[in-house]
Every structure is written in structure tokens, then in C-alpha cells.
Symmetry: C2
Subunit: 91 residues, 2 copies
Amino acid sequence: MSEDNTVFIGKKPVMNYVLACLTLLQNGAEGVTIKARGRAISTAVDVAQILIKRFATDIAVKKIDIDTEQVKSNETGNLNNVSSMIIQLGK
Amino acid sequence: MSEDNTVFIGKKPVMNYVLACLTLLQNGAEGVTIKARGRAISTAVDVAQILIKRFATDIAVKKIDIDTEQVKSNETGNLNNVSSMIIQLGK
């Protein structure tokens, strides 16, 4: 799966990301990778579940990984540990 | 792994749950299962990462599952779909 089929989850409404994933799949992608950090992780799970259960019932969760990333704070310049998650969906 | 070694993640501070997991492990549990729903999912990932990277470096993620649960709203009585997550940690 190429890096291009990745959707990064942020603070937009959930359905924006669902639509982004669906667009990738309808353009011939074999699968989609959903990436999120921090509070957006629960949104990433929502996106995956809505996709699987409602819109793209032919795809399933292939792999879920969790990790920690170091992010530099814009305010203090300190390095903070932030949890990250990768959900791979495929046929 | 018995159902007793399960920690449900809610709205308390992250370290409360880390401590709960550590207590289970020090009382001889082979592993711990972390469960969360909705917004608590990102906290669950934080708990798992803090445990693995800082306090219990001999354990690792065995399995991660995501699912959807139907929860009845106390206010409206409607059934709402809520994402859920289970993280299994073990040696």
C-alpha cells in the first residue's frame, strides 16, 4: 500500500475523513491507512468503524498499531510524548 | 486471560489507570486488557504506551480490536453508536 493512500485525522468533523477515505477507495486504492495522534485517535476509530459498518462493507481492519511520537510544543519548545495510532483498512 | 484482569478507561487522570494496570501485573496477572469507549479511546492508548515504554517494559501489545457498541442515551432514550477499543497487553 503506497503512502498516498493515507488519511491523517485532525479536528474536522468525522464525516470529512470518511469521505476522504471513500474517495481514495473509489479511485482504485486497494486499502486506506488512517493515522492519528493524541485526542484525534478516538476520531480515527470512529472513521474506521463508520467506513466498515456503513459505507464500505467489503473492507476490514487489516492491522492496528499504536506508538508514541515526540512532538515539539510551539509554546514552550519542550518535547512532549504523544500517542499515535495507525489503522490499516483493506479488502 | 481472565475477565478480572481488565481495566476500563473512563474520565479519570491517565496515571490512575496506569497504576491500576501495574497493580494487576504485580499481583501475578500474565497480562492486562484495557477497554475504552468513545472519547476515552485516546486515553486507553496513552495508558498502554506509558505502561509499555516506562513502567512495564517486559510487556507488549498482543492484540488491538476496535468495534462499535450501541449505547442507550440517558437523556433521549435513543440508541447511539459508540466506537470501542480493546488493547491486550501481555508478556
